[in-house]
Amino acid sequence: MGKIKVVHYVNQFFAGIGGEEKADQVAFKQDGTMPIGAQLEKGMQAINPDVEFVGTIVCGDSYFNENLEKAKADILEMVKSYEPDLFIAGPAFNAGRYGVACGTITTEVQEQLGIPVLTGMYKENPGADMYKTKVYIVPTKDSAAGARDAIKKMAPLGVKLATGQEILASCIDNYMPNGIRKNFFETKRGSERAVEMMIKKLAGKEFVTEFPMPDFDRVDPNPAVKDMSKARIALVTSGGVVPKGNPDRIESSSASKYGEYSIAEFDDLTEATHETAHGGYDPVYCNQDSDRVLPVDVLREMEKAGRIGKLHEYFYTTTGNGTAVLNSVAFAKEFSQKLVAAGVDAVVLTST
């Protein structure tokens, strides 16, 4: 088996260029490794001597986040130039922008180049929630003091990914649970584990549930809209309003996809132009007048009257009403980025 080539991505700090003041460092590549990369390489070589860190890509956290498209494109080219078997970013520990950059670039490399990727960060790092269901993220301590621990966990998973071995359950291969349930055999039977968990819970000690309930955590409310007369308002609905004929076949409940449709030239939704993907006699009301689910008529009037600045051209639609609606979480993550990019100031979400 030839060399197992690895490319490593670090920010300005871990490249020894500097701290915040150097965060605008433009992305560049350089053969060989940075100190943190050398430790990672040594850790992986201890498991598989064929591993070699052929190149390091350095990019300032500010430069990356402020020139997202360009940085991504340039870095993809740099990665491609090495033709690596594995792309590692970080570990970012608790550095927020670095963590988000690691998550973004690894997802990009995985999706665009099909190269196995790995990163690591603290579980509270914003990048963790954003990307743990997309790429493997090793949970690390919250500061660089946890480097040895991070490397001890990233090295074996890195070798497995680079050599195409089967990735087992999250608690075995040390990555953040990513929502994909994988079976394995415990050393103790379930009832014994239940008794141990009960004793810890009663003693107020920390325990790890084997199946986390869908998150019911809260998200802090955003500040109010300051000047509604200048605000761009977007409509989103889980009521399944779609153009007549449901062109994208959105299913009638808990849809597996969402729709993005323009209402630019509509002042009113009518029986001829729109309907709902919901099946059954249920849709009669919405099919007659989809404004009953998506209030385009009223918002258009308010736009003309100057009550709101602009009714955003696109609305986003899906179906589903259960509390634990997994798919719609992924949809919302995706189209929210589009709403942010389009400068939307607030969203009116209607659901049936």
């Binding site: 075995i172 050393t187 039977r189 379930g190 009832s191 239940a194 968990m197 009960m198 549930t209």
Partner: protein, 428 residues
């Protein structure tokens, strides 16, 4: 009142056919005629074949209806399976002998489709506890015209009677090992262990109708309100299974007799916790029953003044709602819970595992994802119902490849993701 029960384990190292049924030097000798005559006392059973399946032999048993462990009461009131085979009498005290390592397996295709596979070797053997037991397998055909209700009842009784018959063979055999279990009453318990946390076990019993029933002292669980039962009564067969579907997470009578939560709570009893008692509650079809049963179970936890409760469920879909109701209500009365379940997270593991959820259920033990795909090897011998074997053979979803191997979901293996925590399979 002192509820002490000794279980005398008679270690069985092999089963062999012979002309005399007896237990001698750890070998269970069985005269098949004894079994066939016993079973055919019930005129509803037209034919009965008896086979032996030992761990490591290239044998597949399917479809499995129930698995029962041979036991016999040698001291104390009552008999095994009170109210069903034994007379109605209080059990759970004295001494009971167990033919440890042996099991009676009944196969019976009651409805057109039925899962339940025990492979004694190969990939499938990893997922069922019954690949490690010495199995006496009964393959029975009913008389014609038997309705499914009657067919299920006939097979259930045949299995229980056979297990009692074999248990009887161990009555006068000196056990290799004795394990003692004692349930103190509430007052004694508190006095003896004043500073140990008190923990109850809340067991949910499958109780929805044909093919889904559980019997407590012979009473159909769906007609009961949640109640208290002594853990040692379970060891004498107070609870037994009429449940024939969802082989991966149904409790066989063997599971009930050897309820792992009871055994592991007894192991911790007096050391790290005080096993204060056991509550049984059902999983009915009617939603108002669910509210009533979970209200009642949480009320009993509150009344017993326990600090914690381990809750186990049985089955798929509908019981998830009962499980979450029980967990939520027990936590709400200030009792901390740990729940045991399994998951249906789809073949790719990406789907929503349970059909219900609540933030209060924050301590969960899982028996694994029942949708996971596995590959069963071709085995030399199949014990069971030929026409069912054809359906597997004919590639009903358990798609059969030309080389005789089967690609299927782990959910068709008996006991694979058991929700009492009987097995070591899990998921993350």
């Amino acid at each position: 009142m002192n509820l002490k029960l000794e279980l005398g384990y008679i270690k069985i190292s092999d089963i062999q056919f012979s002309n005399e049924s007896k237990v001698e030097n750890g070998v269970l000798y069985v005269n098949p005629e004894d079994i066939i005559n016993l079973v055919k006392e019930d005129e509803n059973i037209a034919s009965c074949a008896v086979d032996i399946a030992r761990p490591g032999e290239s044998i597949r048993i399917t479809p499995v209806k129930d698995v029962i462990e041979p036991r016999v009461k040698v001291e104390g009131p009552g008999e095994i399976f009170p109210g069903v085979i034994g007379k109605v009498n209080r059990v759970g005290e004295g001494r009971t002998h167990v033919l440890k390592g042996a099991a009676v397996v009944t196969t019976g295709r009651i409805v057109g489709f039925q899962e339940g596979i025990i492979d004694m070797v190969g990939e499938g053997a990893k997922y069922t506890p019954f690949s490690q037991t010495l199995n006496l397998v009964l393959t029975m055909e009913p008389v014609d015209g038997l309705r499914p209700h009657e067919h299920e009842k006939a097979l259930r009784f045949a299995g229980l009677k056979t297990a009692v018959f074999l248990g009887e063979l161990g009555r006068n055999v000196e056990p290799d090992e004795i394990e003692t279990f004692e349930t103190l009453n509430v007052k004694e318990g508190i006095e003896k262990y004043p500073d140990l946390p008190r923990v109850a076990y809340v067991q949910m019993l499958q109780s929805q109708g044909l093919m889904h029933d559980t019997y407590v002292y012979g009473v159909d669980a769906k007609r009961t309100l949640s109640t208290i039962i002594m853990p040692t009564e379970i060891m004498d067969g107070a609870i037994l299974s009429g449940n024939c579907v969802s082989s991966t997470d149904k409790n066989t009578t063997y599971h009930h007799l050897n309820n792992p939560v009871i055994h592991d709570l007894f192991k911790a009893h007096g050391k790290t916790l005080n096993f204060a008692g056991m509550i049984i509650t059902n999983e009915n079809v009617y939603l108002a029953d669910k509210e009533r049963s979970s209200d009642w179970a949480s009320k009993l936890c509150q009344y017993l003044g326990v600090d914690g409760a381990i809750v186990s469920q049985e089955g798929f879909g509908n019981p998830d709602t009962d499980l979450i109701m029980n967990a939520k209500k027990i936590e709400t009365v200030g009792v901390k819970t740990v729940i045991i379940t399994d998951e249906y997270a789809g073949r790719d593991g990406r789907s929503q595992s349970l059909a219900d959820a609540d933030p209060l259920a924050n301590a969960v033990v899982t028996g694994g994802n029942a949708n996971m795909v596995i590959h069963l090897p071709k085995l030399d011998k199949v014990i069971g119902h030929i026409n069912f074997v054809d359906t597997i053979a004919g590639g009903f979803d358990g798609s059969l490849h030309e080389d005789g191997t089967i690609e299927c979901e782990v959910q068709i293996i008996t006991g694979a993701t058991n929700e009492l925590g009987f097995s070591k399979l899990s998921a993350r």
